[in-house]
């Protein structure tokens, strides 16, 4: 009997259905649950109140990241509310026996950086976390998505979630990108094309030569922002790079189990004739380094372009949205992007804080100085291990010599829940994933860019094509 061709998403889904309910929802088994301090306390409290225990304690891995300070860790956390949230995670993990990398552990870092780094994210897994950027982990050929607090508790207690299946979307990035065009530019260009709601209701598989050419870390940057395109999950098929990336990591299987796993992982790609409900084709060669100009990731243009003019927008609702965004951003229509100067630069976040990101930024910063008009340029590694690696490579020296600050790992100014934030009106070149109003601090203005572009903006004091520096 011929089997129906399946997409990667179909395969991952089907392999995890525990039971199907009459109304079309499925009880889906979750292989890995990552936990951080902000969305978990109530879930643990719920377990306690109901007298329940985690269903499979080894499936969980916890780390504090959102609230942790990026300086003076030896002095602890100054903000008492943040401190309590972090201490609560420590206590909950101790009480329930969950493995945690506490704040001063070298393995601590942003939850979406440490999962793959530790091999806790494996191909073929279902992986969830109480955080929307869980889509990152799909880069390894896993089904990974963000959940709310009730669902965090549900996973803790049952190792399952009640879910409705999404539709299949394929985003094909065809051909090769030009030099200087990074994973971040690809995903920003994709979002610019399909819009922030373009992926709503879909699980997106990213494919095509330009995606296959990316490193695993680059694929993580792409999948990270699938949620910014409205999709709960993003993923990339497993290939040799995936397997090479996973090999030897602390949680990765070894010996005979490794061979068995690799054999199974070879099937983690869409079958040739698999049906996608929507296919988007993108020409990689046409992508240039991207800079967002507005308050939504879809408000993005190439660095050599101008700030768009709402008067040229035919759709009146869209034009109104553009005007509001320009007003908030303090920008005039038709201003060349390269004329926009920045007050702060943030290199970090779960999108762009891995070692390759830091290498790319350091390559640009090397031998230069941060421009006088830039009040603060900070580099926040994604984990303690990324930081250590960067220091072994001398990247910290390059940054420090250029006038960047070199910080401790965490979410930091991506969402400004700790002390790192923009002041009202301040403009920031940021490698993070959200440019929403107030995201990096009340009244702060965020421009999303790649690490190389952020470093270039720091050096020049305004946006510029990093490859032209």
């Amino acid at each position: 009997m011929a089997t129906t061709p399946k997409t990667l998403y179909d395969k991952l889904w089907d392999a995890h259905v525990v039971r199907r309910q009459d109304d079309g929802t499925a009880l889906l088994y979750i292989d890995r649950h990552l936990v951080h301090e902000v969305t978990s306390p109530q879930a643990f409290e719920g377990l306690r109140l109901a007298g329940r225990k985690p269903w499979r304690v080894q499936a969980n891995l916890a780390v504090p990241d959102h609230n942790v300070p990026t300086t003076h860790r030896d002095q602890g956390i100054q903000d008492p509310v943040s401190r309590l949230q972090v201490e609560t995670l420590d206590d909950n993990c101790a009480e329930f026996g969950i493995t945690e990398y506490p704040m001063n552990d070298i393995r601590q870092g942003i939850v979406h950086v440490i999962g793959p780094e530790q091999g806790a994210t494996l191909p073929g897994m279902t992986l969830v976390c109480g955080d929307s950027h869980t889509s990152t982990h799909g880069a390894l050929g896993a089904l990974a998505f963000g959940i709310g607090t009730s669902e965090v508790e549900h996973v803790l207690a049952t190792q399952c979630l009640l879910q409705k299946k999404s539709k299949n979307m394929l985003v094909q990035v065809n051909g090769k990108t030009a030099t200087g065009v990074t994973a971040k530019d690809i995903v920003l260009a994709v979002i610019g094309q399909i819009g922030t709601a373009g992926g709503t209701g879909y699980a997106i598989e990213f494919g095509g030569e330009a995606i296959r050419d990316l490193s695993i870390e680059g694929r993580m940057s792409v999948c990270n922002m699938a949620i910014e395109a409205g999709a709960r999950a993003g993923m990339v098929a497993v290939d040799d790079k995936t397997i090479a990336y996973v090999k030897g990591r602390p949680f990765a299987p070894q010996g005979e189990l490794w061979d068995q796993a690799v054999a199974a992982w070879q099937h983690l790609h869409s079958d040739p004739d698999a049906h996608f409900d929507r296919v988007v084709n993108i020409d990689a060669a046409a992508i240039k380094p991207q800079v967002t100009w507005g308050t939504s990731p879809e408000m993005v243009v190439a660095v050599d372009a101008k700030v768009p003019d709402p008067d040229q927008e035919a759709n009146p609702t869209k034009a109104e949205g553009m005007r509001k965004a320009l007003d908030y951003m303090g920008l005039q229509a038709n201003t060349p992007i390269t004329d926009i100067s920045v007050d702060k630069v943030f290199i970090g976040s779960c999108t762009n804080s891995r070692i390759e990101d830091l290498r790319a930024a350091a390559a640009v910063a090397k031998g230069h100085k941060v421009a006088d008009n830039v009040k603060l340029a900070m580099v926040v590694p994604g984990s303690g291990l990324v930081k250590q690696q960067a220091e072994q490579e001398g990247l910290d020296k390059i940054f420090l010599d250029a006038g960047f600050e070199w910080r401790e790992p965490g979410c930091s100014m991506c969402l400004a829940m700790n002390a790192d934030r923009l002041e009202p009106g301040e403009r920031c070149a940021s490698t993070s994933n959200r440019n929403f109003e107030g995201r990096q601090g009340q009244g702060g203005r965020t421009h999303l860019v790649s690490p190389a572009m952020a470093a270039a903006a720091a050096i020049k004091g305004h946006f510029i094509d990093a490859s032209k520096l």
């Binding site: 306390p41 709310g148 508790e153 190792q159 399952c160 189990l257």
Partner: protein, 212 residues
């Protein structure tokens, strides 16, 4: 989740429409680590005269004497009367958590915001929709009679007044079943423990590296 079958309790009237979740529990309290303990900050901006922040000793804060829940006659109320579109705004589960922690198990209103309505059932609160004309009557009677109590019977789907008059209400059969039996989503999933275990056993054979 705590079961709900019947409740006879004091009634408090909150005579405002479009009460949003930010009013129910202001955003500064979302940094909290608990699902419980939001009760003292329920309706914080209305209830106290100063600006509330997490970590304050709420017992020492100046109460707004004009706010209805601060009146002595409504202390211990477990049934809340409300107006149109109660619970609109964000999806924060902190809103039902705060109402529950304060002591409310039943909210009676002419209409509810959708997400909030769902969140109530997830957290053991029974939201009851009663037409506006009957709502007016309930508000009037509550205000007129100190110590006014109602008896809510979920199984019979009735609200009984002190006079003996009975109002009936609609509730989704599945939600009623969950609430009557104290089944939350987790409780329901745990009815399929055998399926989960069977899945794990077969998965452990196919993909043993996930279970080592």
């Amino acid at each position: 989740m705590e079961k709900f079958d019947t409740l006879t309790a004091l009634v408090a009237p909150l005579d405002r429409s479009n009460v949003d979740t930010d009013a129910i529990i202001p955003k500064q309290f979302l940094k909290s680590i608990k699902r419980s303990g939001f009760g003292p900050n329920l309706f914080d901006a209305w209830r106290y005269l100063d600006h509330g922040e997490p970590g304050m000793d709420n017992r020492k804060r100046p109460l707004n004497p004009d706010f209805v829940l601060n009146q002595p006659r409504y202390q211990g109320a477990r049934i809340l009367l409300a107006r149109e579109n109660f619970g609109c705004g964000s999806s924060r589960e902190h809103a039902p958590w705060a109402l529950l922690d304060y002591g409310f198990r039943v909210i009676i209103a002419p209409s509810f915001a959708d997400i909030f309505f769902n969140n109530c059932f997830k957290n053991g609160i029974l939201p009851i929709v009663v037409p506006s004309s009957q709502m007016d009557e309930l508000f009037r009677q509550t205000l007129a009679q100190e110590g006014y109590q109602l008896t809510v019977d979920l199984n019979a789907q009735t609200v009984t007044k002190p006079s003996g008059e009975v109002l009936s209400f609609e509730v989704d059969a599945f939600r009623k079943h969950c609430l009557l039996n104290g089944l939350d989503d987790i409780g329901l999933t745990l009815q399929h423990v055998d399926d989960i275990k069977a899945y794990e056993a077969s998965r452990a054979k196919e993909a043993p590296w996930l279970f080592h």
